[in-house]
């Protein structure tokens, strides 16, 4: 009996794979674009948690940065000359907006670092404060500023490559999705690779892992735990800054209240699902946004026949909830196990102070 029932199911699976393969090159640029702020946010979480600090405030840091990027770029567009570079559609106001966003997110990170490391306050409360603060302050200022309808500074443009490259099969659509993107999108890919290498191949990476797993041992071999944590947490803010700026001066060109819409929390999920590594987090972010992209694809162009009926019978919201469900499953250790760095969440006290 199994064999008889098995064949149609196998047929459906093959149909589904064919559907995915056909839809993927078309969907790939949107999937990567959606994954970019999530992967950048996850890098922020990576810098924090690998050195032993919980960060659930990524969402708030991204939102703050998104607002600051849009606002300062808009103000700068009224004040400074509109110098334009040949690549990426870079203008002076956009550069000012990007810098301001990074600085703003690093400042918020510095507050998180101070509360978590020096004050030894609860790190989850610190993240909660950042999230509440960001929604309130950006909503407050946005309401006041948007009344005066400020001009938009536009957004960064995607890199243009000779069309010959895009015509190569497979490599073509990979390049199309990952390389022919704006400067922040490109910086995401570079950051992921660089951080992955640094984590496992550099002195900084070894020290960071030591501080995140066993700070006492790290201190005894002469690593300044407090200083390294401060540095990593504040530097991590820069990635949240890039993620926020991506939303308002690269992917889009306007700010809306609460526009991060949970991306900071998906970033946290991607970090966990990717087992606290940059490459893993990027992979998880891509998997998550594929699930969300699939929802759209099935809604607008469902596959034909039995498979189409089956896929549209599932409520489409299920595909959006899937990333969160699989994160819970992975965290619970049902399929594979994802373990946090051992010292995450524990404030560090120097021996001499504790004695």
């Amino acid at each position: 009996m199994d064999a008889i029932y098995g064949i149609p199911i196998l047929g459906l699976v093959i149909q589904f794979v064919v559907y995915l393969v056909e839809a993927f090159p078309v969907l790939a640029p949107t999937i990567v674009a959606a994954a970019t702020p999530i992967a950048l946010g996850a890098l922020c979480g990576f810098m924090n948690e690998r050195s032993g600090v919980v960060n659930i405030g990524i969402e708030g840091m991204m939102l703050t940065a998104a607002f600051v990027a849009w606002w300062t770029a808009s103000v700068a567009a009224q004040l400074v000359p509109d110098l334009r570079l040949a690549v990426f559609g870079i203008t002076l106001p956009l550069l000012i907006g990007l810098t301001a966003a990074i600085v703003a997110a690093m400042l918020v990170s510095a507050v998180h670092a101070w509360l978590s490391i020096s004050v030894r306050a609860d790190q989850i409360i610190s993240g909660t404060i950042i999230n509440i603060f960001a929604v309130a302050i950006t909503g407050y200022l946005n309401l006041l500023i948007s009344q005066q309808s400020p001009p938009s500074a536009g957004s960064f443009q995607a890199l243009r490559l000779p069309s010959a490259i895009e015509d190569i099969p497979v490599v073509g659509w990979l390049v199309d999705a990952f390389i022919t993107v704006g400067p922040i999108g490109l910086s995401m890919l570079i950051s992921v690779i660089v951080l992955q290498v640094l984590l496992f191949r550099s002195r900084w990476g070894l020290r960071t892992r030591a501080v995140g797993e066993h700070p006492k041992a790290a201190e005894t071999v002469g690593i300044d735990v407090i200083r390294l944590r401060y540095r990593n947490v504040i530097l991590g803010g820069a990635f949240a800054g890039l993620a926020g700026a991506y939303l308002t001066i690269e992917f889009g060109s306007a700010f809306q209240g609460e526009m991060t819409a949970g991306r900071g929390f998906i970033a946290l999920a991607a970090l966990i699902f990717g087992r606290w590594t940059p490459i893993g987090a990027l992979g998880a972010a891509l998997l998550f946004t594929t699930s969300i992209g699939l929802e759209r694809s099935i809604r607008f162009a469902p596959p034909e026949g039995q498979l189409g009926e089956l896929l549209t019978a599932v409520p489409l919201q299920f595909y959006s909830a899937l990333p969160y469900l699989i994160t819970i499953i992975v965290l619970a250790g049902v399929v594979g196990r994802s373990l946090a760095p051992a010292a995450v969440g524990k404030p560090y006290e120097r021996e001499s102070k504790a004695a």
């Binding site: 609860d122 909660t128 407050y140 299920f318 469900l325």
Partner: protein, 389 residues
């Protein structure tokens, strides 16, 4: 709670019992300082942003705060509105605060609130033609059950797999959002509505008791606060919850079962947040939208912290935030200060509470009580301990 202490001088040598005034001062001084500092900093933000409102104005904070107070307490309807806003905050605040007592950080009050609202909706729609005497209690029970289920899951996962509740509850919040959207825009979508929502509830809508919108749900918070206090501080289960929160290992050696306490506490938290959601949707909204924009579950974290995880404290903290939400509209209309100022005040209050050590040092405050919520130590420090289970 005992009555006011007798004014008689304490016997020589006997440990002096602290008077009620002293005890209130010890507990409430730091939160009061945090609120005061937040109002000052909020005022500075209002002054700095006043050029964007109606020209630079040093007196604008006073105008704004006066409108805020008037909107919260200026009339009978305003007071009722404050109570209506405070009710879900108090219930969800208890859902977070009781979790703190067991050393659990329930960030999932938001999801439990939504599941409570959704389950109550399902029952309310199914019982549309029944008598209100049947429909109301059953819908409320359904809401509590839905919230309970959404609290049970992270409790179970924490107890038996070690998956940290902070992450699982955040994930479940988002699953809840999509679940509500799927059910309401799908099978439960109303026949006579223009956007994705259910039809208005017929039989299960909570009756009005007082004022323009003072519905039956107000009583739930009034009952839940003393009940929660009794359970935490006077019952055996409450003792076990507090012991597990203070030191899970000691609780285990004493023969308690931290795993079951974890599951029980998270389920109870879910039940309370679910009741908040059910009361809100049946009493205040009157139908269920597919995308229910609410921040009750997150504000509840602020309420629980400001109330120092004590039911009475949570009642006052909920009333304060409820009043600020009720007055925010009038502040925006009269003073032109955006209603988001309320969220900003919340964040600043929390900031000073989190940095209490610094606040104590700088202001040289001496109070008898130690940390804000001592059990919190157990919470985030366990974040990386999943391997050891």
């Amino acid at each position: 709670m005992t009555g006011p202490a007798a004014p008689a001088a304490p016997a020589e040598g006997a440990p002096r019992r602290r008077s009620l005034v002293e005890r209130v001062r010890a507990v409430a001084l730091l939160p009061a300082i945090a609120i005061g500092l937040a109002l000052v900093i909020g005022g500075i933000v209002i002054i700095l942003s006043s050029p964007l409102i109606r020209g630079f104005d040093l007196a604008l904070p006073l105008v704004a705060y006066r409108a805020l107070a008037e909107g919260a307490f200026g009339s009978v309807n305003a007071v009722v509105n404050t109570l209506v806003n405070a009710t879900p905050l108090v219930l969800a605040g208890l859902a977070v605060g009781i979790g703190f007592k067991a050393g659990l950080f329930n960030i999932g009050a938001q999801g439990q609130f939504l599941l409570g609202a959704l389950s109550a909706t399902v029952a309310a729609i199914a019982l549309n033609d029944a008598s209100p005497w049947v429909a109301i209690p059953l819908s409320l029970l359904a809401g509590m059950a839905g919230g309970l289920a959404w609290g049970f899951i992270p409790g179970f996962l924490k107890a038996f797999t070690g998956a940290h509740e902070v992450v699982t509850t955040i994930m479940l919040n988002f699953v809840a959002i999509h679940l509500v959207a799927g059910v309401i825009s799908g099978p439960l979508r109303g026949a006579e509505v223009t956007f994705a929502r259910t039809d208005d509830f017929a039989a299960a809508g909570l009756p009005l008791l007082i004022g323009r919108n003072g519905h039956l749900g107000l009583l739930f918070a009034l009952v839940a606060v003393p009940l929660a206090w009794w359970i935490i501080y006077r019952s055996t289960v409450g003792f076990e919850i507090r012991t597990v929160g203070a030191n899970p290992d000691a609780a285990r050696y004493a023969g308690m079962h931290p795993r079951w306490i974890t599951i029980l506490t998270m389920s109870a938290c879910g039940l309370l947040a679910g009741l908040a959601g059910a009361g809100e949707i049946l009493g205040e909204v009157g139908y269920m939208p597919a995308s229910y924009g609410t921040t009750v579950g997150f504000d509840a974290i602020a309420v629980a912290l400001l109330g120092r995880a004590h039911p009475i404290g949570i009642l006052f903290a909920g009333l304060l935030f409820g009043a600020m939400q009720a007055g925010a509209g009038l502040m925006q209309v009269q003073a032109g200060v955006p209603a988001q100022m309320v969220g900003l005040l919340q964040a600043i209050i929390l900031f000073f509470l989190a940095a209490e050590l610094i606040v104590r040092q700088v202001l040289r405050v001496r109070t008898g009580d130690g940390e804000l919520v001592p059990e919190l130590q157990t919470v985030s420090q366990s974040y990386g301990d999943q391997a050891s289970r």
